[in-house]
């Protein structure tokens, strides 16, 4: 109980900090970086719902991120749709494609699922890359509008865009929180734990997996649509495997299957990346070993490590307190049996 209160306090502090950030650090470069990492966080939350809580490691999510982004671009620029309608539709269309993919993909498990979705992701990348007329191919897609005004609020300035993205991030975190701590979340976790066991206790695993898959893609394509309207330029690279691995690294470092992992991992990795930018692609020489060590010693990332350490401490405390009581009750049992 105390742990939960503490968690809420930390979350509240983090939100306060995020709200005050543009005032504390009135620097457009940092604001831009922060907004961008919020967008990644949303995508990582999507991945986390499926990979972290339902136990299906999808490698197609960068592809769906790209579908969300490109659909927004196409619907606004080519079809001339109202921005927010296009925004909503790009999430829905991407989720619908996800639904179709899920129908097949979710019949496979573990590494087969990973490989299958890896292929799906790559096909999505290829389609974007080759379908010149629609996507602009390698030349990219330019002239995507920034978010349209909502009533009197306009999103032309970096600060207002920051708050818009923050709003979506908080919304996604809130929805994730509600799901994870509900019977639905427990159902997903049961599937992750053992699909066989989940079936024997009457869970219709296919249905639940599909819902989780589609919702996870909805979040990730939401991030994609935000990305398109924020950067306003798209290249096929945003659907490439390397983006997928970025998402995965953010999730693994922060803590797969934890509530705050996506935030911690994304912040940590994007800032470290910034620091090591002079190394260019050689950064991977440093990331690789660190990541390997992390996965071996902290399979649930930084956040998982902290949680583990804390539960151990409280367990020890409880054991020393309960020790007396339980020895008492076992005495009682002996008396009865004797």
């Amino acid at each position: 109980m105390i742990a939960v209160l503490k968690q809420k306090k930390i979350a509240a502090l983090a939100i306060l900090f995020a709200l005050a950030f543009p005032l504390l650090i009135p620097n457009n470069y940092y604001l831009h970086m922060m907004t961008l990492s919020f967008i990644w966080m949303i995508a990582v939350y999507g991945l986390n719902l499926l990979a972290g809580y339902t136990g299906y490691l999808s490698l197609a999510h960068a592809g769906f991120f790209a579908i969300g982004a490109y659909t927004l671009a196409i619907l606004t620029v080519k079809a001339g749709l109202n921005f927010w309608l296009a925004f909503f539709l790009s999430c829905v269309i991407s989720s619908f494609i996800g639904f179709l993919v899920g129908l097949v993909a979710l019949r496979t498990k573990e590494h087969f699922f990973a490989i299958y979705t890896l292929c799906v992701g790559y096909i999505i990348y290829l389609v974007i890359d080759k379908w010149d007329n629609l996507t602009g191919g390698v030349r990219g897609f330019i002239g995507i509008p920034s978010p349209a005004n909502i009533g009197p609020i306009s999103f032309q300035t970096p600060v207002s865009q920051y708050y818009l993205v923050l709003f979506f991030l908080l919304l996604v975190v809130f929805v994730m929180y509600r799901i994870v701590y509900s019977l639905t979340g427990r159902t997903y976790i049961a599937i992750r734990n053992s699909e066989e066991l989940a079936l024997t206790i009457g869970i219709s695993t296919m249905k639940d997996k599909l819902v989780s898959f589609v919702l996870s893609i909805f979040f990730t394509s939401l991030a994609g649509a935000l990305y398109a309207s924020f950067i306003r330029f798209l290249g096929p690279d945003i659907g490439y495997i390397s983006v997928m691995f970025d998402l995965l690294i953010f999730l693994l470092v922060g803590g797969i299957g934890t509530m705050s992992g996506p935030v911690v991992g994304t912040l940590l990795m994007t800032s470290i990346s910034q620091q090591l930018q002079f190394l260019q692609d050689y950064r991977m020489l440093i990331f690789g070993p660190i990541l390997t060590l992390l996965v071996i010693f902290y399979p649930r990332g930084v956040v998982g490590g902290v949680i583990h350490w804390k539960t151990k401490r409280t367990e020890n405390n409880r054991d020393s307190r309960v020790g007396k009581i339980s020895s008492h009750s076992s005495n009682e049992k002996q008396v009865k049996e004797g």
Partner: protein, 254 residues
Amino acid sequence: MLLETKNLTKRFGGLIAVNNVNFSIERGKINAIIGPNGAGKSTFFNLISGFHKPTAGQIIFKGEDITHLPANKRAKLGIARTFQTTHLFEQSTVLDNVIIGHRLRTSSTLFDAIFRTKRLKREEAQCKEKAMEVLEFVGLTDAAHKIVANISQEEKKRAAFALALATDPEVILLDEPAAGVNPDETEGLEELIVKMAEYGITVCLIEHKMQMIMKIAHKIMVLNYGEKIAEGTPEEIKNNEIVIQAYLGGSAIA
């Protein structure tokens, strides 16, 4: 009679794991299945609970043909099971493991979760209450908040029972519930199984521990190489020539 198999057969490639088995699980009784290693006992359970599709034959539950029903629907009808090795989630508490067992009796959806509706709150309370009730039934109330990784093998078995009981079953299939626990603890589990039957839940169990079976079973079926070689009361089975031969000829029993 609660559940009946008719000419139930399961083939894995060239191997016939279950061969033409006719068996009935009697309502409210403790029904036992014994047989040497590899006799097809677990496979028989997998057929009844819906994990394997039978090659031939039928499964009738309360007069209804459930041969082609998926596993989760059978659970809803009231068929629960435990596995030979417990599948509990080790990093979580006993209570958290058991709560989900009642999920199949609830109907809240993703929508309820996101909007935290009244239905969700009610059903969450209902699942928790059920979990505490079955934990008390199996004698794990004190361990409810312990992490599964830190409890004993015997407690894990009890937790697995509790999870199965949380589904409100009519029949519970127990696959070697006393494997890997010491003799004292075996007695405890034995009492618990008897208590389940007295409570009105039909039990069907696979076990290698003969003493236990002979003491608590009302009815025993013996499988050997997938075939039913005998069926009867413990008394009858003890004195059955074929059974004695199968056991002495085959692998010894623990």
